[in-house]
Symmetry: C2
Subunit: 270 residues, 2 copies
Amino acid sequence: MCNHCVIENVKQNMLSRRSLFKGMAFAGAAVAAGGVSSPVLAQQTAGKVVDLTHAYDESFPTFDGNPGIEYEWAVEFAGNGYQLHKLTIFEHTGTHIDAPFHFSADGKSVDQIEPQQLVAPLAIIDITDRAKEDANATVEAADVEAWISANGEIPEGAVVALRSGWAKKVSEPAFRNDGEGKFAFPGFGKSATDLLATLNVAAIGVDTLSLDPGNSADFAVHNSWLPGGRYGIECLNNLEELPVSGATIMVGAPKHKRGTGGPARVLALV
Amino acid sequence: MCNHCVIENVKQNMLSRRSLFKGMAFAGAAVAAGGVSSPVLAQQTAGKVVDLTHAYDESFPTFDGNPGIEYEWAVEFAGNGYQLHKLTIFEHTGTHIDAPFHFSADGKSVDQIEPQQLVAPLAIIDITDRAKEDANATVEAADVEAWISANGEIPEGAVVALRSGWAKKVSEPAFRNDGEGKFAFPGFGKSATDLLATLNVAAIGVDTLSLDPGNSADFAVHNSWLPGGRYGIECLNNLEELPVSGATIMVGAPKHKRGTGGPARVLALV
């Protein structure tokens, strides 16, 4: 993304946030005075909620190529007046979390991620143009440094997401494979995640199937980032709707005990 | 909760939010000037994230009494260097969503709930004292009116939660049953939800197993609220940590297609 576009995005984001503050401050004053609190609604509508989650079912692409979810009716509507499914879900399906426990025998399970790490500033590193030329394009340390030069420091506890344009391919074979059927999609390079670890970033996110690029031979990022006690988010959607700086991400990680991760609802406020 | 406590809570919440605004505005200015954006961190730490979600496993209480989740290793760590589960999950397990499709043959499934309805002002109606005397205590229209008199209007799109103190019983038989083994827990009365529907509230939430009280014979709230296109949240945790007015709820509803609901990650910012 060009510098001009970055600046324009930040400006627009600030304008939106200033309306938000105004609404929130007014709401606070109204509540304190015992008056109506409907301006709180302005607080909600002035900010835009962007859904970073793909809707998924049996057809959603998975890393191993098998369906990630299966449905069975546990109770059917006819004769009961209500209905519910028994689901079979492989943890790493859809827009989902990789907990440290996914790549370490004793790391934090998904329920043990601190709630404070689930609501965070979101920094987006855009490599869409590069990914058009190279399906296995990576974010490297130099990209992180360029982002910082353009946008300022990445705060501790932030989530840093790679934006490659891949989410738009989710219904095509190209989301997962090249023309010869080999894995091919963008990911993080270890030089980038090693740098992000020193900045105490909470999580990294990708709009592809894996934190590592499709042609990774050693899952170097999975094998270093996750055992380091940090988490990852895979298969993010709609990052194109966000500025590269200024959004807040809300990561609705599942909370089953002993989980290595799982399908999540990820939203952003901008 | 006494009026004095309500006022104190609101005051404290406002103070917290004002620090938040200050941090956010400063962050915006720093970013615009091309300076460091670390004050964005203040934006995150000035506000408190409260986790409204129970961690759950096979032992978590369910409505039908059967385990709501089962685990099987799909890939084991030994020999692979990573691990993941194949989970069997009944949709209405743990802290979870009831989508309209749960109680209507053609209602919105959980993936169809508007993202804008998942980030909302949270109003809490406290009936803890009453629930100590009557395990099947309900929130009725008069309680909603009393909340409005004390705290101001409930904005459109809000989430209204019942707080009964039941979350603290989650590991005891009393979370679900009375001494004779009959369902017994607080819930919403239909007079309350009929009123909330006229106010265009997005969702109701409970810290118990069901939107209807344990002794409900007809699931009147499920049968009217959900087919009306609104959603519910059951088994909320930690509502005691929030003021009755002023918090923002973030509902990480699952996003599997055709879902009648499912385990969710629910957070609040205060």
